[in-house]
């Protein structure tokens, strides 16, 4: 099995891994079970020590912790701090962990409004949504709503073989153009493809749906010229704000009013 895995005949160990989910839809962890054709090989690369969704066995001797979701309750804060103490490498898995994700849309409303409107007469506990790096040091971020399994596989192989882990620095636009798609701006849509970090293979824009920026800003972005483009084409600034705020991944440029 995987204990005998080698790269250039140099053997390497399986990754002692654990996966935990916080405030989320669990869609990113689900991606770990996708790519069924290569799944036995992928699992062979891992020594799964703790993964509640998948296994009833639980051990606390993991090196790598995958964290899905954002943080919105005190018990989650405590659980996260405990995981940080154990993990040598803490990975923010997916957009909620990296940026807060769609959960952050709730931060537009006072906590009391949320509780009173949805759970009367119960006084349910909830906090404003925070991303993982607001609370602990994150060693590695894998953005995406959901994460792209290709990228997760590539990163896990890099970790197992001690290679450098990198994310694309260029924007989604490049991946989209490589697929010869008609630009959505030409179809009268605001698309965040020019701003957003690539690595998703332009899956949304290839489906003729504008990019909402789930992977966060690319390495270097020019927001000023992007705004010019939107204005020049007479596109709606409200629509732009709705898109920029969708995943909370463009925080410095978001309008924070509800």
């Amino acid at each position: 099995m995987a204990e005998n895995m080698t790269q250039h005949r140099v053997p390497f160990q399986r990754l002692k891994i654990a996966s935990f989910d916080f405030t989320s839809c669990e869609g990113c962890q689900l991606q770990l079970t996708n790519h069924e054709a290569t799944l036995p090989d992928f699992l062979g690369l891992l020594d799964v020590r703790n993964f509640r969704e998948l296994s009833s066995e639980r051990h606390d001797d993991y090196d790598i912790a995958l964290i899905e979701g954002s943080i919105s309750r005190q018990d989650e804060v405590e659980r996260l701090l405990k995981i940080r103490k154990q993990a040598k490498i803490l990975v923010a898995l997916g957009t909620c962990a990296c940026f807060g994700g769609v959960n952050s849309l709730k931060n537009r409303f006072p906590v009391k409004t949320l509780i009173d409107e949805l759970y009367p007469p119960m006084n349910i506990e909830t906090l404003a949504v925070r991303k993982i790096s607001d609370l602990v040091t994150v060693d590695l971020s894998i953005p995406g709503c959901p994460v792209n399994k290709d990228e997760v596989e590539r990163i896990m192989v890099s970790l197992a073989t001690g290679s450098r882990v990198t994310l694309p620095k260029y924007p989604v636009c490049m991946e989209c153009k490589a697929q010869l798609n008609t630009c959505l701006f030409e179809l009268g849509e605001i698309c965040l493809g020019p701003l957003t970090r690539a690595g998703c293979n332009a899956v949304c824009t290839s489906g003729k749906t504008p990019c909402l920026g789930c992977r966060g800003p690319a390495e270097e972005i020019n927001m000023a010229s992007f705004l010019e483009l939107v204005k020049e084409r007479g596109l709606s600034l409200d629509d732009l704000q709705e898109k920029l705020a969708f995943y909370n991944a463009f925080e410095p440029w978001q309008n924070h009013e509800a």
Binding site: F22, T23, S24, C25, E26, G27, C28, Q29, L30, Q31, T33, N34, E36, A37, L39, P40, L43, V48, F51, R52, E53, L54, S55, S56, E57, R58, S72, R73, E76, G101, V102, N103, L105, K106, F109, T113, L114, E117, L118, Y119, P120, P121, M122, I124, T126, C145, P146, V203, C204, S206, G207, K208, T209, L212, D239, E242, K243, F246, A258
Partner: protein, 424 residues
């Protein structure tokens, strides 16, 4: 023998989301049996407020990583009914196919990753890979097929990209539809193999009479829209979903509860089967009979078998749908619309049961009010009551402590709870 006994399972494994099981037995008497959902709430109904109709399905799909297509389609249906939009026929067929892919994927995940390890005496699919490699291979093929159907029709299997209010942003490629047909043919033996495994296992003997709720349209096995029907004879229109659900809260659970004619009711594959078995494909009915599934079945463990029967149905129906799509021009896939004020319910049969989204829009098509009632919320009370009943039965039968714990875990898993969803 009078004994003291406690089960305290924190964050039950192999279910989607966080929930605890607590059982206390004192001097041989059951003191307490509790199924407590402790998942962190996300407040989607408030998050939706102010969102444009165009963006809504992209937000609602994020309620659940497993049934994102169902959530997208429930909100799309609510908005189309609220703003009086009729999507093109081709779009409706493609949506239906996308849902079938999702249900196949979700059922396969449950049958092989979450349930099968219990029957094979192992803790996870990793153990199952060693003890039953052929079963895992069959399961993976079916899951892959489900995901591929959704990807071809909706652009991506988790969090779809092309499902919009009014129709679709992009039609599926006919070449890829043809490939799906080949793939379905190729994977039928995998499903036969899965059926032979589930025929060989012993399903625990337990029943507690309850009320089953599902969609029904009298013409086809339910998926998107229709009447709301219960085995106790309640029949209502989609917009009357509040009368069907009657949500309420209980302090120990972050998921709400529902009730109808009795204290508890059930949604899901078994409910769909109990209400619509005559509309299943003949091959699926045949498999149901072979596996001892007959309506009205009150054994919650048989939900797993109902899911397997639905997989058989899906493979047959997907073939028919793909063939009819191949005969159609797939040019007209979206109805243009002007946003307007309105309100309506969209009900769909998500993999785990009937799912309601009720949305109200303003004149600009922005959401004013949103309400979502999730299948697992509808099963919450029934799981709770079954846990009590099965523990009492096990005590009476003189089962060992470990056996009772395993039985309780398996019973809860058989409902395929989607806990994140229920605490949206």
């Amino acid at each position: 023998m009078k004994r003291d006994y406690a089960i305290d399972i924190r964050h039950l494994a192999r279910v989607e989301g966080h929930a605890d099981i607590k059982i206390t037995v004192r001097e041989g008497q059951l003191v307490d049996a509790k199924w407590a959902i402790v998942e962190t709430p996300r407040f989607f109904e408030v998050m939706l407020r102010g969102m444009s109709a165009e963006r809504v399905p992209f937000l609602t799909s994020r309620i659940c990583g497993i049934c994102s297509i169902s959530h997208a389609l429930a909100s799309i249906r609510a908005l189309e009914r609220a703003m009086e939009i009729t999507p093109p026929v081709a779009a409706e067929k493609i949506r239906l196919l996308a849902m079938q892919g999702e249900t196949l994927q979700s059922h396969a995940l449950h049958l092989f990753f979450l349930i099968a390890p219990d029957f094979a005496g192992t803790s996870s699919v990793l153990g199952l890979l060693q003890s039953h490699p052929d079963l895992v291979k069959a399961g993976l093929k079916l899951k892959e097929l489900g995901n591929e159907i959704s990807t071809v029709t909706a652009g991506r299997c988790t969090h779809p990209v092309s499902l919009l209010v009014g129709g679709l942003s992009k039609a599926p490629d006919k070449q890829r539809l043809l490939q799906l047909l080949t793939m379905i043919q190729k994977q039928k033996p995998a499903l036969d193999y899965a059926c032979s495994f589930f025929r060989s296992i012993v399903i625990p003997d337990f029943s507690r009479e309850t009320e089953f709720v599902s969609l029904s349209n009298g013409k086809s096995y339910p998926a998107i829209g229709g009447h709301l029907l219960s085995t106790d004879g309640v029949e209502l229109e989609e917009n009357d979903y509040l009368l069907m659900t009657n949500e309420y809260t209980r302090e120990f659970s972050t998921s709400k509860f529902t009730r109808l004619s009795r204290d508890t009711s059930v949604a899901g594959a078994l409910a769909r089967f109990n209400n619509n078995h005559a509309l299943l494909h003949p091959k699926a009915r045949e498999v149901a009979e072979e596996l001892g599934l007959k309506p009205v079945c009150h054994n919650p463990f048989m939900n797993t078998i109902a899911q397997l029967v639905e997989c058989v149905h899906i493979l047959e129906e997907a073939e028919e749908l793909i063939n009819s799509l191949l005969d159609m021009e797939l040019r007209n896939i979206k109805t243009p619309y002007q946003p307007k004020a309105g309100s309506a319910t969209g009900a769909v049969e998500a993999p785990r049961g009937i799912l309601y989204h009720h949305l109200e829009t303003d004149a600009a098509g922005h959401v004013v009010k949103a309400d979502c009632v999730i299948p697992t919320t509808q099963n919450n009370g029934n799981i709770h009551s079954d846990l009590r009943a099965i523990t009492l039965q096990a005590l009476k039968e003189g089962k060992e402590d470990g056996e009772i714990e395993k039985l309780c875990e398996m019973m809860v898993r058989s409902y395929d709870p989607c806990i994140s969803c229920s605490v949206h």
